[in-house]
Amino acid sequence: MPWRTADSVLPEGRYYFTGAEALAEGAIAAGCGYFAGYPITPTTEAMEHLAHRLPEVGGVFIQMEDEIASVCSCIGASWAGRKAMTVTSGPGFSLMQEGIGHALMTEAPLVVVDGQRAGPSTGQVTVGAGDVMQARWGMHGGIPTIATAPWSVQELYDGAVHAFNLAEKYRLPVLVMAEAATMHLRESLTVPAQLEVYERDKSPGRPPFGCDAPDGVPPMPSFGEGERLLVTASTHNEWGFRRTADPLTERVLVNRLYNKVMMHVDDISEVEGYYLDDADEAIVAYGFTARAALAAVQELRDVGRKLGLLRLKTLWPFPAGPVKELGARVRRILVPEMNLGQMVYVVRATADCDVVRYGQMDGTVIYPASIVEAIRRTA
């Protein structure tokens, strides 16, 4: 069985951590054995934490010359058998897109954390969530991968473990779309004594890039194990031989890469509902903004509005089922975002009701009062 129960590296208990520290410790708990990164606000603190913690637990830490080198070295480490992670923010996330595509195409498990800030370009080093569409469409080729949206320090810890597990299970880069707001937040964290960890299937002798199932995940032996692996991000057959002018090989490969995500949305994608049972209107939110949305829902519930919240824990693959179901029973959905409107378009395409955008992009978090006002204004 690829799942195993691992003892926590941190002693079980309650901690008062920043999001950056929780993320770093979550990665260690998940078995991260290689980290490469380049300093950038707001994820530098996670990197600094790993600089001393990872070597203590037998991992490799390195600061590279840029974000491109960081993500590429992580892929090299992943193929050499270690669980690998890098952390960055908007500008670095843009630089990493080609590398993320390489990991996707060679099916190298990898965790990339984007502590989103206000963009475009260098923008502001303050809070934002402007990269959520980039997580889906940023790399060329348009094949989906997995992106999560943690909303708390606890979820940066748990979410790091979850991200590594998904990366290993589905052999792909998992994008943790964190935010400056949560990376710099300090709040209590509960560390359990044990956790479930997924270890990659290394079965030798089988093709590492193909399998019978159209949505399957082939085994992934590592370099140095005698498999004479032929790894390329060019179109390749099940053994890794380049077939860059063969339509069938490309079709088989990209359809499997697509299917292994899109045919497993129910396993991958998670949502959380609040006050939805009797709701006739709802908010769909993610990340830090969902905290403000929950407070706004509670405030408006107090004055009798039948308002609920659907929180997207996973952004991609988009949890279309729950959103569609929600759209069928409420008259209106508000989508507040720390950008000028991104996920709102997906919600609008999915939910069969009125879907209203509330975008704020000024380097500050959205306060509950702003959401309350937005709900009242659009009543």
Binding site: G33, Y34, A36, V60, I62, M64, E65, D66, I68, A69, S70, C72, S73, C74, I75, G76, A77, S78, W79, A80, G81, R82, A84, E98, G99, H102, S222, F223, G224, E225, G226, E227, R228, L229, L230, V231, T232, A233, S234, G240, F241, R242
Partner: protein
Amino acid sequence: MSNEWRDYLRPGVTLPFCPGCGHRLLLKHVLTAIVELGLDINKVLFVSGIGCGGWIPSPCINTDTLHCLHGRAVPFAVGAKMANPELTTLVVSGDGDIADIGGNHLIHAARRDHDITVICANNMNYGMTGGQVCSTTPVGAITHTTPNGNQRRPFDLIALVNGAGARYAARYLVTEGPALVSAIKRAIQTPGFSFVEAISPCPTQFGRQNKKDSIKAVYTYVESMAISKEGDSTGATLSPEGLLVTGEFAHA
């Protein structure tokens, strides 16, 4: 030199090189060095980027191979080596890949002294895209993007990596087989960062544009750009006339 190197070609692969391409010779020299060192072939990793030079290991060599993004072979190799230090890790890729788009990674890997060997197949132009100017194209040479002749100075790659702290650096023509094999062996055996530049004539693109009408003429032309270090004790990597000095430039 025996033919044992052929045992390390990946079964079923047809060599992808143009007639007269120096990369075919380099493939043979690299594998001969591996054979002569008696390395455990299951613990050898070849990493390459995009371009003709990247095809030397991938798919030709029957070890673990990692074919990377354009310009990024070195950081991929750094990650693999740090993750598993047992792997004898070699980058074999072209000059455009390693020195142009990947130049920053090259100097930083040398500076940080990762225990990898980078072999740069220098054909003095972008071959795979049809023959454009590169950071290693000699002054005056014609390419599709320098139709009046290249006016920009080329990199002296040996001086570049030595300036960045390489433990071992060597430059030879692919036609200098025994010397090049010996240099590759020394590079692999050198702890820390080592670099070998293999000057590799490109008849199809570079040769044709510079009006060399035979493979032999291309080789003569490229050979005329280099001069042996033999007898020169100055350590210079370029001759007073600007020729590429061939030989070993060890730092240790």
